[in-house]
């Protein structure tokens, strides 16, 4: 009998370490897997007997004897739970299923198949395959990953780099963390394929310091990959590739690729002007692929099952699947991987089951602190890059944060500006000064100065058009979407009525 108790940080945050210890004290072997993504059921324990796994939700230490003697009711198989059954799991196919630090478990579930195929293909065919898959940057910008790789492949230079952006700072997102804690070899394999594809021999994972558990798992997995020749001389082939984890230092802006590169070089995490593109002059001025964790962790399944298989999912130019992270005030929060195209309302209502508080949904912020708020009137929007863009929003890293009707949208707009002021790198004026003025202007509106509203609109225009990067450039999204869709929260009458 095997007992699976997740080591995922969300499961730990809800007490899984004590649960694992209780099973061990009762004499059982415990496998610390990743999370299956149903965070509201964490710690979600699975008992495997005769090859069949039964799940138990929200397990506490007190439940352990009952689970072992059969008096606690099981949820059945994870695969039959509707939240899980409705997903299309490609990137997250192994997450929660396997022991994250067992390379043999990884291989038994399709791991390294893609890398072996890629080695046979050679660099040009690798890049072509990735282009055909239609994979776009999952960090938020949505730039075609294959084109980026091709630019680096063609760039002259003896030394090139693969840099994985694991600075997942957007509120409401945790997909990077989950895959690094639950299936770290998929990221290692994806980076190795990228290395072979573009001719890079060194990879860096820039991992935020707020994720100590992910840092621990990634470092352990890299060590195992080196010992087993997945890294080093890759699977015995002629290509050398190694990976190093670099820990961030608490700056949100370092999720922006050029700030990240400066930080990696040991400088202030200040944004660089583009051009030159990092693909041509990136880390230490050398050609560099900068990709998000999910982009890179999706590469193995594309090479395992083929570009056409991956591109067969999705909607229009948004091909494949997206791990949507449902968070905030929801009944069923967690990670839901699905083909692009599911309407936002279905995610919020059917999948997430509405709010945890039981009150009506007022707004949903999609895409992190720089993403727009969506009122229920826009819930028909299909979850895809172009469709969200068309509604004045962005899917970003696919975090969906739900707010009930107690949310104060002026307060949320003010927070967006405050956050931008705290995290601005200071390089460009619209962001550095604009965010501070934004907080002041929203305070004037709160105090009843209706004349400050056009000023705020004007300020947002300036920040949008004049900022160097997405921090200053996109902070207007949450602010303006709140102002446009919830004008009553910005009305001077509001204070008087209270």
């Amino acid at each position: 009998m095997n007992v699976y108790v997740p080591r995922d940080a969300a499961a730990k945050a809800l007490g899984s370490d004590a649960v694992a210890a209780a099973f061990e004290a009762a004499g059982h072997t415990v496998i610390r897997n990743g999370s299956r993504g149903m965070i509201w059921l964490e710690p979600l324990v699975e008992i495997e007997e005769n090859g069949v796994r039964r799940a138990y939700g929200s397990v506490g230490v007190a439940d352990v004897p009952g689970i072992l003697d059969g008096s606690v009711k099981s949820l059945g198989a994870v695969e039959d739970i509707p939240f899980f059954a409705r997903q299309t799991r490609l990137t997250f196919q192994r997450c929660g299923l396997i022991d994250p630090l067992s390379l043999s478990d990884y291989e038994a579930h399709g791991g390294l198949t893609g890398l072996r195929r890629a080695i046979e293909m050679g660099d040009e065919a690798i890049v072509e395959e990735l282009k055909e898959s239609g994979l776009r940057g999952r960090g938020g910008a949505g730039f075609p990953t294959g084109i980026k790789w091709d630019t680096v492949r063609r760039a002259p230079g003896p030394r090139k780099y693969i840099v994985c952006n694991a600075d997942e700072g957007d509120s409401g997102t945790f997909a990077d963390r989950m895959i690094m804690e639950g299936d770290p070899f998929s990221l290692i394999e994806g980076m190795a394929i990228a290395g072979i594809g573009v001719g890079a021999s060194k990879g860096y994972i820039y991992l935020r310091s707020e994720y100590p558990d992910a840092i621990e798992v990634m470092n352990a997995a890299i060590e195992i990959a080196r010992e087993n020749s997945v890294l080093g001389r890759v699977l015995g082939a002629s290509h050398e590739f190694d990976i190093e984890v670099r820990v961030g230092a608490g700056a949100y802006v370092c999720g922006e690729e050029t700030s990240l590169l400066n930080s990696l070089e040991g400088k202030r995490g200040v944004v660089r002007a583009k051009p030159p593109l990092p693909a041509l002059e990136g880390f230490l001025g050398r050609p560099t692929v900068v990709n998000n964790v999910i982009s890179l962790a999706t590469v193995p399944v594309i090479f395992e099952k083929g570009a056409a298989h991956y591109a067969g999912f999705g909607l229009g130019r948004s091909k494949g699947t997206m791990p949507v992270q449902i968070a905030g005030n929801v009944k069923h929060g967690g990670l839901f991987e699905t083909a692009f195209g599911m309407p936002l309302g279905e995610l919020v209502g059917d999948i997430a089951g509405g709010t945890a508080s039981g009150r009506p949904v007022k707004a949903v912020q999609v895409g992190g602190p720089l993403g727009a708020y969506f009122a229920p009137a826009k819930f028909g929007t299909p979850f895809a890059y172009e469709d969200f863009d068309g509604q004045g929003g962005l899917i970003g890293h696919a975090g969906v944060v739900v707010f009930d009707d107690s949310a104060d949208m002026l307060g949320m707009a003010r927070f967006a500006m405050e956050f931008c002021a705290i995290e601005s790198c200071g390089k460009c004026t619209p962001c550095r000064i604009g965010a501070v003025r934004g907080v002041e202007t929203i305070d004037r509106i709160r105090e009843g100065d209706a004349g400050a509203v056009p000023l705020l609109v004007d300020l947002c225009e300036t920040m949008k058009d004049g900022s160097l990067c997405a921090l200053g450039g996109f902070t207007p999204f949450p602010v303006m979407s709140a102002l446009e869709q919830f004008p009553e929260d910005f009305a001077p009458a509001r204070e008087a009525a209270e």
């Binding site: 969300a10 509120s171 230092a249 608490g250 956050f419």
Partner: protein
């Protein structure tokens, strides 16, 4: 505001040379070096700046610029416990603002403050990736979900 505890006047930096040398072979060694120094001392002592700057051939001003840019690096020791409470949107949607206000009030602190007995420092954090079990916090590197002020105070009681 709570007065900041004065840094110890003469921290023992006998390990500094070793830490610096252990990182010099890296490409872009400064951040890993600063993390290692902070892990050893609890902060980056001003007395270490000269040796770091010299080893990396940068000015002390440049070094100060880097250290002060990042929220993680301290110029003085923190309390025995470091409590980080998430202030980001997902946590706000389930009451993080009230949670942090109450916790700070119970400890008699403002953000970044340390209790006079040096027991705990409270800092804001912007997302711990625990957005589906919010509100979230971290105590001395350990994550906590669905927290209450009482649960947080119990963690830092000793």
């Amino acid at each position: 505001m709570t007065p900041k505890a004065a840094p110890p006047p003469d921290p023992d930096l006998s390990d500094l040379r070793g830490i610096i040398d252990a990182h010099l072979h890296l490409e872009g060694p400064l951040l890993p070096m600063l993390h290692a120094i902070q892990a050893a001392h609890g902060y980056v002592p001003a007395g270490a700046h000269g040796a770091i700057a010299e080893a990396l051939n940068i000015t002390k001003a440049e070094l100060h610029g880097v250290i002060s840019f990042y929220h993680d690096f301290r110029d003085a020791p923190a309390g025995r416990h470091v409590l980080k409470i998430c202030r980001a949107e997902a946590c706000q949607s389930v009451g993080a603002t009230a949670l942090s206000e109450k916790t700070l009030a119970l400890l008699g602190l403002d953000w970044h403050g340390t209790t006079p007995d040096g027991r705990v420092t409270v800092e804001p954090v912007y997302c711990l990736g625990l957005c589906a079990c919010a509100p979230a916090a971290m105590v001395d590197g350990r994550v906590m979900g669905r927290v209450t002020p009482e649960a947080l105070l119990a963690e830092v009681a000793q």
